[in-house]
C-alpha cells in the first residue's frame, strides 16, 4: 500500500505533466459520462446524460430538489449499488475505464473515488481513528505511516490546527463544520483521485461554509471534484464548471461564468436567476 500510494503519486505527477504538455483537450478528460440512464425500479431518475469532466476541475451540480443530482453523484462510486432494484445503462469512464465493467472491483473504485456525504457522518471513534479507518481497512499496518498520513490529511482538510491537541478524543465532540471537514480528511487519507461532495455545507453556518469552500479551492490542485449543491452562490463561488439538472435531464453544462451570466437555455437562466426552484 505504501508503495502503491507512492506509485500513484508519481502517476499523478505524470498526469499533471501530460496535462500541461497536451494540446488536445481530450487527453485532459478525467471523467466521461456517456449516454447514461438510471432507473429506480421502473422510474427513470436520470435520462441520457452526457458529460465530460477535466482533471483538477471542480464541477458544480445544481438543480431543483428531486432532479437526480445526488443520484448522479452516487453513481460515480457506485454507492447506489447498496439499493436493490436499481438499474443503469450507458457508461461512466474514469481515466477511460468504464466503472460498470464486470471485471472492475467496486471496492477499488471506491478507494479511488472518495465521497463526503450531505450529513457529516463521523464514526463513533476518536478523531485519529476516524482518519486511520480508511487506511486500516485497506490493509495498512505501519503505525508511523498511519500517524503521518492522519496528520497530513487533517492539514489538507484545514483541521489540524484546531484539533491537534485532542486527536484521541471522540469525533462527536467536534462542531458540525469540523465534523464535515473531518469527513473530508477521512476521504483524503486514502488518496482518491476524484472527490464527490454531496451538499457538504448544507447543514453548516456561513463561517463553516466559507472554510469548506476555501478548502475546495485548495483541493482541486490535487483532485477532480464533483460537488452537488443547493446553493447557487456556492456553485458560482467554488466551481469551474456548472451542470444544471432538471427532472433527471442534464439541461446544460458549461463554464460556471457562462452558466450564471449567459446560459444558452432559457430554463437555465430562469433557474439561476431564481425565477423558480
Amino acid at each position: 500500500m505504501n508503495t502503491m500510494i507512492k506509485e500513484k503519486k508519481s502517476n499523478q505527477k505524470n498526469v499533471e505533466q501530460e496535462v500541461i504538455s497536451a494540446e488536445l483537450e481530450e487527453n485532459n478528460m478525467k471523467v466521461r459520462v456517456e449516454n447514461f440512464n438510471f432507473y429506480y425500479d421502473t422510474t427513470q431518475a436520470l435520462k441520457d446524460i452526457n458529460l465530460e469532466i477535466k482533471a483538477n476541475s471542480v464541477v458544480g451540480i445544481i438543480g431543483p430538489s428531486g432532479c437526480g443530482k445526488s443520484t448522479f453523484l452516487r453513481c460515480f462510486n457506485r454507492m447506489n449499488d447498496t439499493i436493490s432494484s436499481i438499474r443503469y445503462e450507458g457508461k461512466i469512464r474514469i481515466d477511460e475505464k468504464n466503472i460498470f465493467d464486470d471485471n472492475l472491483d467496486v471496492v477499488d473504485l471506491r478507494r479511488n473515488v472518495g465521497m463526503v456525504f450531505q450529513k457529516s457522518n463521523p464514526f463513533p471513534k476518536s478523531i485519529f481513528e476516524n482518519i486511520a479507518y480508511g487506511l486500516k481497512i485497506n490493509g495498512i499496518k505501519d503505525k508511523n505511516f498511519i500517524a503521518q498520513k492522519v496528520e497530513e490529511s487533517l492539514k489538507n482538510a484545514a483541521l489540524w490546527d484546531e484539533i491537534k491537541d485532542r486527536l484521541h478524543k471522540s469525533a462527536f465532540a467536534l462542531s458540525g463544520g469540523q465534523q464535515q471537514r473531518l469527513c473530508i480528511a477521512r476521504a483524503l487519507a486514502i488518496e482518491p483521485e476524484v472527490l464527490l461532495l454531496d451538499e457538504p455545507a448544507s447543514a453548516l453556518d456561513p463561517i463553516a461554509t466559507a472554510k469548506i469552500e476555501e478548502l475546495i479551492h485548495e483541493l482541486k490542485k490535487k483532485y477532480t471534484i464533483l460537488i452537488v449543491t443547493h446553493n447557487m452562490q456556492q456553485a458560482a463561488r467554488v466551481s469551474d464548471y456548472t451542470a444544471f439538472f432538471m427532472l433527471g435531464e442534464l439541461i446544460e453544462c458549461d463554464e460556471t461564468n457562462k452558466i450564471f451570466t449567459n446560459p444558452s437555455k432559457k430554463i437555465t437562466e430562469d433557474y439561476v436567476t431564481g425565477r423558480f426552484g
Partner: protein, 284 residues
Amino acid sequence: MKKKKMEQFIGFMFLRVCIGLVILALVVILYDIFSKGSGVINWEFLSAMPRKGMTEGGIFPAIVGTFLVTIITALLSIPLGMGCAIYLNEYARKGKVTRLIRMSIRNLSGVPSIVYGLFGVVVFVQLLQLNTSILSAGLTLGLMTLPWTITASEEALKNVPQSYRDGSLALGATKWQSIRTNVLPYSIPGMLTGAILGLSRAAGETAPILFTGAAFYLPFLPKSFSDQFMALPYHLYIMSTQHHAIEKVRPIAYGTALVLIVLIFCMNFVAIIVRYKLRKVKME
C-alpha cells in the same frame, strides 16, 4: 372547560389504576415468595444434596444443572442467533422472501414451550441419539430462545445508523469489513442484552427439559454433558405438585422459587451491566 378537565382526570385515573394493579400483582408475588422462602435459605440449602426423599437437605444439584444447561443454551443460541440476524439484516435482499422468513421467526417465539420439548425428544434424544441429557435439554432450550436472540440482535443492528455503513463502504471497505469494523462493535451490547434476557427466560423453563434431560431426583452431580440433571424450575414443579409429602416440603419449594428468581434477576442485572459498560466504551 370543566368537562374537558373531568375527562382528563378520568383518563389519568384509569391509567393509574392499570399501573397500580400491575405493580400490586408483582409485589404480592415477590412478597409471598420472599416471606415464605427466605426462611429456608442458608448455606446448606444452597450447597448440599437433597436428602431423605428430598424432604431435607439442599438444592445444589438443581443449581448446578440449571447452570450447565444454560451454558449449552448460550453456546447454541448466541452465535447462531447473531449469525442469522446479521445475515437477515445486512445481507439478505429486502423482499417478500426475507419478510416471510422474518415473520416466521417472530411467530416461532409464540410456539408453546412444550412443543419445543417434544421436538427436542424427537430430534435430539431419539434421532441424534443424545439421550436424555444436559446436551439434549440445552439444545432444545437453545432452539426455543433462538427467535428471541435473532429478533433482539436484528433490532440492535437496525439501531446502527446507515451512515456508518455507507461511510465505510465509501472508503473502500468490503461489505464484511464494514459490518465487522463499523456495525458489529456498536450493536454487540444490544445483541448481548437480548441474548442474556433470552437465556434468563430459558433458565426458568420446565416444559422443554421435562422429557429431554431433567431428572426427578439425583443424589449426585452430573459428570458430563451427556448425563441427566436436576434443574431449578423442574425441581420446583416436583416439590409443589408431585411430591409425596407436599405440605412438608412446601418451604423447600418456596426456597427453590426464591433461588430461581434471584438467579434470573442476576442474569438480567448482568445484561444491564454489559449494555452499560459496552455503551460507555463506544462513546469514548
